[in-house]
């Protein structure tokens, strides 16, 4: 693993050039470089090991067959992410289940003067001890699964994978303001979902 992003990018470009020149011997290096990222994103989108495995295989098959069509207009890794998203969406469509709910119901409420209308509990201090409870993990996964696709993908790439706003824009072909707005809406949605859970959790603790 290289930690200098410039060096890393150069190594990636060299690898792609080799593959485009027909040297498929180095395909293993490509697998080594991307398999974890592809699998993690696929898993977070499908929430199922078998599906994530299928998606990962599909992505490498596409990369193997289409490597010569990569033109270098965006970073190679952005192209890999795009292929991964397409493959994951194909998988999801074949499953045909949509668990998402409307995001607007969960956005904050204000009165006419612009003050918050609901009681805002601060549960941010309690997350450390709660995080490792399996229940919490389950709640977080469920909440993310319920995000509408547009917001979910931005949230996964930006906040979970830790990519930059610019990179997410490149992958999804969105403007920076569009990425920011979707990310903000996703965070608001999840905050609300988690608030409901933590409030319930805390009131349960008070009773015991």
């Amino acid at each position: 693993m290289t930690f200098d992003p410039k060096e890393d990018k150069a190594a990636e470009e060299a690898l792609v050039r080799e593959l485009q020149a027909g040297n498929m011997e180095v395909f293993d290096q490509l697998v080594e470089r991307f398999q974890k990222k592809i699998y993690a994103l696929s898993f977070n989108l499908t929430r199922n090991q078998m599906d994530a495995q299928d998606v990962t295989q599909d992505v490498f098959l596409t990369l193997f067959r289409k490597i010569h069509t990569f033109q270098g207009k965006s970073a190679f890794s952005s192209w890999v992410y795009r292929i991964t998203l397409n493959a994951a969406y194909m998988k999801l469509r074949s499953r045909k289940k949509d668990k998402s709910v409307s995001i607007d119901e969960l956005l904050p409420n204000f009165n006419k003067a612009g003050f918050q209308q609901e009681k805002v509990q601060d549960w941010s201090e309690n997350t450390e001890s709660l995080l490792f409870a399996n229940e919490t993990r389950g709640i977080i996964q469920k909440a993310v699964d319920q995000l509408p696709e547009k917001e979910k993908v931005v949230f996964l790439l930006r906040d979970v994978e830790g990519l930059s706003t610019e990179k997410v824009g490149e992958i999804l072909e969105l403007t920076i303001p569009a990425v920011k707005s979707r990310l903000h809406r996703a965070r608001l949605f999840l905050r609300k979902k988690l608030s409901a859970f933590f409030d319930e959790y805390r009131s349960g603790e008070d009773k015991s």
């Binding site: 918050q116 941010s124 977080i140 996964q141 994978e161 830790g162 965070r187 905050r191 988690l194």
Partner: protein, 79 residues
């Protein structure tokens, strides 16, 4: 003086340090007078951090890795 709605709309850019100086300080002024917005800010930040901790640690199981290796050597892949 900005209101809660404006304050919440600015959170994303506030955390990215992308606000101009003036907006940044009026936001901080608002926080001083508004505990609910401070609670909102804290939980907004925590949402990102706990989701990242919880979902960012997906490991590829060894079984999946070996399946992939097999697949890459298979006829289906090469043809």
């Amino acid at each position: 003086m900005i209101c809660c709605k404006e304050c919440l709309d600015l959170l994303h850019d506030y955390l990215d340090n992308k606000l101009d100086k003036e907006t940044h300080s009026s936001l901080e002024e608002h926080f001083q007078d508004c505990p609910p917005c401070v609670a909102f800010l804290n939980t907004y930040k925590s949402t990102t951090s706990i989701c990242r901790e919880s979902l960012g640690e997906i490991e590829m199981p060894d079984a999946v890795k070996s399946k992939l290796k097999e697949f890459l050597k298979s006829e289906e892949f090469k043809n």
